[in-house]
Amino acid sequence: MLFNSIEFAIFLPIVFILYWFCTKENIKAQNILLLIASYVFYGWWDWRFLSLIAFSSFIDFSIGKKIGKTVDPKARKWLLKASLFVNLGLLGLFKYYNFFVESFAEAFTIFGTTIHVDRLNIVLPVGISFYTFQTLSYTIDVYKRKLEPTENIVDFFAFVSFFPQLVAGPIERATHLLPQFQRSRYFEYDKAVDGMRQILWGLFKKVVIADNCAFYANIVFNNYEDYNGSSLLLGAIFFSFQIYGDFSGYSDIAIGTARLFGFDLMQNFAFPYFSRDIAEFWRRWHISLSTWFRDYLYIPLGGSKGGTWMKVRNTFIIFLVSGFWHGSNWTFIAWGALNAIYFIPLLLMKRNRSNMDVVAQDRLLPSLKELFQMGITYFMVVIAWLFFRAETIKVAFEMIEAIFTFSNFGTPYIIEEGTGIHILPKKFLLSILIFLTVEWYDRTNTTSLEPFTLLSKYVRWCIYLGIGLSIFLFKGNEQTFIYFQF
C-alpha cells in the first residue's frame, strides 16, 4: 500500500478510529490492532512475504529471549551470530544473490573463461533492508545489555512491522521504539496536529516535488547522449530533488502517521541540502541509517580511536557498505566510495565536526561564506548522485565528463518527448525555489511547517488548504517511492 494512494487514504482513518475509539486506550488491544493493521498494510503489496517478516520477527524474538537468559558469553555470542546469519542471510539471498553470481561470472571473463550462472528469479521483498536492520538492532542491543528482552510477542511483532515505517524507515532502534509499545499511549491533540502537518508536507514533497522532478530527470538520464553539459547538470539537480523529495517525503509521512497513534519516530532528514560540508550532509541525510552504521558497524570496527589508517579504513567500509545497502549494483558502491573520498580529507584534518550547528542559526540569511560552502557541498552531492542514478558506472563517468567539458556548456534544456522541442521548465524551477525557501525557514525545527504555526488561524488554514490543493493540482505522474527498492 502506497502512502499516496486512495487505499491508504481509506486505510488510515479506519485504523485511526478503531485505535482510539475501540481499544479504549488499552495497550494490549492497541498493539494487537497495530500488528493486524501492519500486516494488512504489507500484505496489500504481496501477502506471501508476510511469512518472511513473521519468520524474521520470530527468530529475533526467540533469540533475544534466549540471549537474555544466557550468562555464558560464548553462548551469547553464538546466539547473536545465529541472528545475524538468519537476517543477513535472508537479505543476501533476496537482494544480493544475483549480483554476486553475476559479478563472479563476469570476473572470470577476464581470464577468458565464460561461466554460465543461474540467476534466481525472485522478487525483492519491499522494505527488507529496513526491517532487517531494525530487528537486528534489537538482538544486538539485547546482546550488549542495552535493552531487556521483551517477553511479549505481540509487542515485538508490532515493533518489527509497525506500518508507518515498515517499508522505507526511519530505521528505528529497539531501544527507542520498542519501549513505546510497552507504555500507555493517550491521544495528544498537539502531537496529532503536528503529525497531520508533517503528512501534508511529506505528501507535497513526494507528489509535487519528487514526482515532477522524476519526469525531467528520467528524460535526461534515459537519453543522456542527447544533452550538453549544463542540461546533464540540470538533470542531476532534478534527480537530487527527486530523491530528497521522495525519501524525506516518505519519512515525513511515516513520522506524521506514527504521531497520530501516539508514537515518536526519529527524524530522518534534517535539511541536508543546507549543509556546509559533506560531514554535515551525512549527519543530516538518512539519519536513521547513518547512525545505525555508526553504532553497529563503525564503532565496533574501532571507530576513530585507532590510528589514521584505521580511521580511513573504517570510513571506507562504512560508506561502501552504505552504498551496497542501497542496491546490488556497482553504481551504488561507486556512490559510496565517492562519498568516502569526499569525507576522508575532513576526517584527516579533524574538520568533520566543525559544522555541528544549524546554518545561519538566529539569522534570516546565510553569510556569503556559508552560501559558498553550501553551494560547493551541494555540487559535490549532485555529482555523487550521478553514480546513484546512472545505469552503469561508465554512463556516470560519461555524464561527468560532459559536465566538466566547458565547451559543451551551453544553455540548459530538456527535450520534450513526442515533439522534440527544447524546453526549460522555468515555472517548475521556480516552484523548487519556493520549496527551498519554505525548507530554509523550517531548518531549525524537527517537525514540518512549524513557522506557520505562529500565524493566525485563518492564514494558517489558507496555507494548509493551498498546500493540499497544490498536491492535487500539481501532482506529477505517480512514481513508486525510490527507497522501496532498497
Partner: protein, 309 residues
C-alpha cells in the same frame, strides 16, 4: 483517574476529527468548484464525456474532430449531429472505439445519420502484430477505461486523468472544444507556415509510416461499426481532404485504400474528398484549418443533400 483522562482525551480527539474533516471537506468543496470551471479550452476530450447520449454522430480520428463542423449540419439540414471523433491514437476503428460509440449512442430513433471519417491510418495499427487486439494502443487510453461517457461532471475521467490536474483545471489551450464536439484549433491563417507542414510530413514519413501496418482486425471492426450503426440510421463514409504530401505518404501506407472500402457493406455512400484537396487550407498538412473545416462541412452537407438525404 483513567476514566477522567479518557474523557478528556476523547474531547480533544473529537475536536481533532472535526477539524480534520473540516479540512477535507473544504478541500473537496474547492475541488468541486474547480471541476465546474473545466470548459472547452481545458481539455480536447473532457466535454465529449459530459454530454448526454447522442442520436447522430460524426466518428473518426482528429481529422474528423477538427474537420467536420456539426453546426453546419444543424443550420443546413436541421439535424443535431455530435462530433465524437478523437485522435488516431484514441479512436482508430477497433473494439475500444466501438464499445465507446455504443455507450454514447441514443438508440431511441431509427432515422439518424452517421458520418464515419475513414483513412488508411484509422484501419492500421502501431504495434508489432497489427491484428493482435491486446497490443492496440487505445487499450491504455481514456476511451477504454471510461465506462460512463455521458456524465456531468465526469469523475471517472478526472480520476483517471493521466496528466497533471493543473492542465485540466487551470491551463487553457489554443484548442476549443465546442459543445457539439467540434474541436476548433485556433490558429490564424497568418500563423500557418510551410515549416509546420514539412515537420508533420517528416514525422509521418520517418516515424509513423515505418511503425504502422494495415490491420485486418481493424478493418473488420470498421465493418462491425457500420453494421451496428446501420440499425439506427444511414451510414456515410467520408475521406477528409489532406495535403498532397501527406496523401503520398498515405498512399505508401495503403495504395489500394479506396478499393478496400468498396469491400465494405451496409453504408449508403463513400465520398473521397481528397480529390478536391486543393481547395482547402491545412494547419499542418494533416488537419483542415478551421475556416476550411467550415467550407468542407458545407460541401459535405450539400453532397449529402444531393444524395437525397
Amino acid at each position: 483517574m483513567n476514566k477522567h483522562l479518557f474523557t478528556f482525551n476523547f474531547n480533544t480527539l473529537k475536536t481533532f476529527i472535526f477539524k480534520t474533516s473540516l479540512f477535507c471537506l473544504a478541500s473537496i468543496i474547492i475541488t468541486c468548484c474547480l471541476i465546474f470551471t473545466i470548459d472547452g479550452r481545458s481539455d480536447p476530450f473532457y466535454l465529449r464525456f459530459t454530454t448526454k447520449k447522442q442520436s447522430s454522430l460524426i466518428l473518426g480520428t482528429s481529422r474528423a474532430a477538427q474537420g467536420i463542423v456539426p453546426s453546419i449540419f444543424r443550420d443546413s439540414l436541421n439535424i443535431d449531429i455530435y462530433n465524437y471523433a478523437f485522435t488516431v491514437g484514441h479512436s482508430p476503428y477497433g473494439p475500444v472505439y466501438l464499445e465507446s460509440i455504443k455507450k454514447k449512442l441514443d438508440t431511441k430513433n431509427k432515422n439518424n445519420i452517421y458520418i464515419l471519417a475513414v483513412d488508411p491510418w484509422a484501419i492500421s495499427s502501431w504495434c508489432e502484430e497489427p491484428d493482435n487486439i491486446n497490443q492496440f494502443r487505445e487499450n491504455k487510453l481514456c476511451l477504454s477505461y471510461i465506462n460512463n461517457v455521458n456524465s456531468l461532471p465526469n469523475f471517472e475521467f478526472i480520476y483517471n486523468y493521466d496528466q497533471s490536474p493543473y492542465n485540466l483545471f487551470l491551463k487553457k489551450t489554443k484548442m476549443l472544444l465546442h459543445t457539439d464536439g467540434w474541436l476548433e484549433v485556433e490558429i490564424n491563417k497568418s500563423e500557418i507556415s510551410n515549416s509546420s507542414r514539412l515537420k508533420k510530413e517528416e514525422t509521418y514519413r520517418q516515424e509513423h509510416l515505418p511503425r504502422t501496418k494495415f490491420s485486418t482486425v481493424r478493418f473488420q471492426y470498421l465493418q462491425k461499426t457500420i453494421n451496428y450503426l446501420n440499425q439506427f440510421g444511414e451510414v456515410y463514409l467520408v475521406r477528409i481532404p489532406i495535403h498532397d504530401k501527406i496523401l503520398q505518404i498515405e498512399n505508401d501506407l495503403n495504395f489500394d485504400f479506396n478499393e478496400k472500402i468498396t469491400l465494405l457493406k451496409g453504408y449508403k455512400n463513400y465520398y473521397d474528398f481528397t480529390l478536391i484537396r486543393n481547395q482547402f487550407l491545412f494547419t499542418d498538412g494533416n488537419h483542415l484549418h478551421r475556416s476550411s473545416s467550415k467550407d468542407f462541412s458545407k460541401i459535405l452537407v450539400s453532397t449529402l443533400i444531393k444524395d437525397n438525404l
